[in-house]
Symmetry: C2
Subunit: 136 residues, 2 copies
DNA sequence: ATAGCTGCAAATGCTTTGCAAGGCC
DNA sequence: GGCCTTGCAAAGCATTTGCAGCTAT
């Protein structure tokens, strides 16, 4: 669960990630981090930022989503081939995916417990475990 | 685990799915179902069928992968935005995804046990549970 | 000043589609 | 014969990239 943050806190967050708080980047970061958990596609975020009256190109939205992800501020979730979601909740947790609407929703971590992980192949380590419950 | 099947069995399997055993479809079906579990992308299967000396277009590979999936002979697995895998194992099971190589591997079902499912949102039912352990 | 950032448009990569020709029952 | 299927090429879609001009520090 992300805390609601002020503009100033977000600027600090960006600086900590070594990302300049440019006008465009700040607008995107505020849309993403000022309120609680969000799951957005690049298109959706672009629509949001345009709706908020700011001018940001789609390419810049993509660039920034990836920079945020690299910085650990976002997590990419793949539910659908051909579309990426970005989740502001970077803690370990799982998802419901509403097939009808394309909406992605967090599952509270305690609600779904994974048993012991299976034996991994030789010389490998777990990077991440993705659990998606597809519902309709 | 899929049984090894003869050409004749595969033809029957196609007929049962109301799919004509055309030269191209049969070639694809044999590559997919004659040996055990396979995880392929359209590109890979296309390369396989060409390597086997048959002429099948990529469009036809896509068409057939989707027809097989609709018929319940394959299951589509999404691991990577922009690329679809098709799994000949249609039973409930989970996957390792090797990030370095792009290879997908089954996890024996007993090796990973899911606890109780979380409470679902109102008026929804589970279509499928996908578990992908990303390793490197 | 300068390294980083933005925006456009073009390019990419995978996938789908339109449609004429061919093949199975 | 009639309907399904195929193959090509074109279109589609989400995403990435090249690059000239802009901006934060």
């Amino acid at each position: 669960m992300n805390t609601i943050r002020t503009r100033t806190q977000i600027i600090e967050r960006l600086r900590a990630a070594k990302l300049r708080p440019t006008r465009q980047r700040l607008a995107l970061a505020r849309l993403l981090f000022e309120r609680g958990d969000r799951h957005v596609t690049a298109e959706q975020l672009h629509a949001d930022v345009i709706a908020a009256g700011m001018k940001v190109s789609l390419a810049t939205v993509y660039n920034n989503l990836h920079q945020f992800t690299r910085a650990g501020l976002l997590r990419e979730v793949v539910v659908d081939s051909g579309r990426s979601y970005f989740d502001t909740n970077t803690a370990s947790h799982f998802h419901f995916f509403h097939e009808a609407t394309g909406r992605l929703e967090d599952i509270p971590i305690d609600d779904l417990v994974l048993g012991a992980l299976p034996q991994l192949p030789e010389n490998t380590s777990v990077k991440r475990v993705d659990v998606i419950i597809r519902i309709r």
